[in-house]
Symmetry: C2
DNA sequence: TCCCATCCGTTAGAAGTTCTAACCCATCGC
DNA sequence: GCGATGGGTTAGAACTTCTAACGGATGGGA
């Protein structure tokens, strides 16, 4: 304990206040969406007045960035533990759907409409690669070569260090976009008027992705 | 011309101002997203001060609703004219992609993250059904029965008047969600870090949807 | 042609928001 | 105990949406 291995009381308090603010932010986002998130309202819910929160978050964007980071982290961990428990590709896909349905706004925060000016920080792309790797590990490379896989064979810098063959990369992309296609339209309420069950559609798409 | 078959000059002026306001709104939305749309800024761009626009739009939501309506209308017309020109399913899909890439925020306005409280008006769902019908007409019912098609056979109230068989309905949903899956992730910038071409992925998914 | 109602645009202002500045005071380390 | 650090406060600027009250122009009926 010569130096900064343990945290000071101030740092602990600071982390606690930040965490509590993020909790309130999640509640607010779940009910009113990310665009209606108010730093002022959060501060008042915590019993302190307006600008006090600016000691903890430089601005509204930094708070949202932290929410995005938490969402990414949560998804990455959820998928990683599922994979560690022996879940196959179908299990991971259903884990993803469960995670998304548990908090639609959380899913849409990372995969929904982005703010045009907003630029995601470096570490979120790292977590994104982590998620991709978890899914990629479950992708079976038994699929035949396609125009997509041959294209990815020469355009794979994003997964340069992952040993998956180009057919697995192609499989991963089709998995990702197909599941996201069903999930995002379901979460956005575009199936709400219709009386069918989106889960059947999800399972139908999932079935096309299994060996 | 006994009564209201032609428009009065006032009505024409009113429609013109509304149209100009919507033009500025589209410009604003294209650069800063729908959440950053400012009624005040639009008014000032038009040379009039703040609250004047409230003579033309009851509130911000009504203006956004009108934008959503225009977007739906534009997509429906674009697909309808493509279909009238003899476009097949592949042609319609590529028309959709072109339309989406022409103005990403316009696509995301209708298919992206919704505002939780917001309720779409009746006529937009009518246009949505119009779009579905155009695509449905191009869906070949040659696909075999699947769990999804049997489910849709008994849950098709949303397309009750359309004569398509359940296999075509299933085909339509897989088409919709697969294309949207690629497009929405591409428009949201989730492929931007990677160096591959989203069009290849789009064409790959499209190929799986053709007979 | 005149006149009046309707409608348009204005300014003022309330209630929000984000965020900065200045100040006070508690806490923490030396 | 003393001083620096940092948290919380209020004030205030610059925004936003939206309402209210007031002018003035326009357009249709007598």
């Amino acid at each position: 304990m010569t130096r900064a291995d343990s945290t000071t009381p101030r740092e602990r308090y600071r982390a606690q206040v930040r965490a509590e603010a993020l909790e309130h932010a999640w509640e607010q986002i779940a009910t009113a969406g990310s665009s209606a998130l108010s730093l002022n309202a959060i501060a008042k819910q915590m019993g302190m007045s307006g600008p006090a929160l600016y000691r903890y978050f430089a601005n509204r964007d930094e708070l949202i960035t932290e929410l995005v980071r938490e969402a990414y982290r949560s998804l990455a961990d959820t998928l990683a533990t599922a994979a560690a428990s022996g879940a196959d590709l179908a299990g991971l896909a259903r884990t993803l759907r469960t995670w998304a349905l548990a908090d639609p706004q959380r899913y849409l925060l990372v995969y929904g409409t982005p703010i045009p000016g907003y630029r995601a920080p470096e570490d979120t792309t790292a977590i994104s690669q982590e998620i991709a790797a978890t899914l990629l590990n479950a992708c079976t490379p038994a699929t035949p070569a396609t125009p997509l896989s041959t294209h990815l064979a020469t355009h794979r810098t994003w997964a340069a260090d992952h040993p998956a063959p180009p057919e697995a990369l192609a499989h991963f992309f089709t998995l990702w976009t197909r599941l996201h296609g069903v999930l995002s339209l379901e979460l956005a309420g575009h199936f709400s008027g219709m009386d069918f069950d989106p889960e059947v559609l999800f399972e139908s798409e999932l079935a096309t992705l299994l060996p």
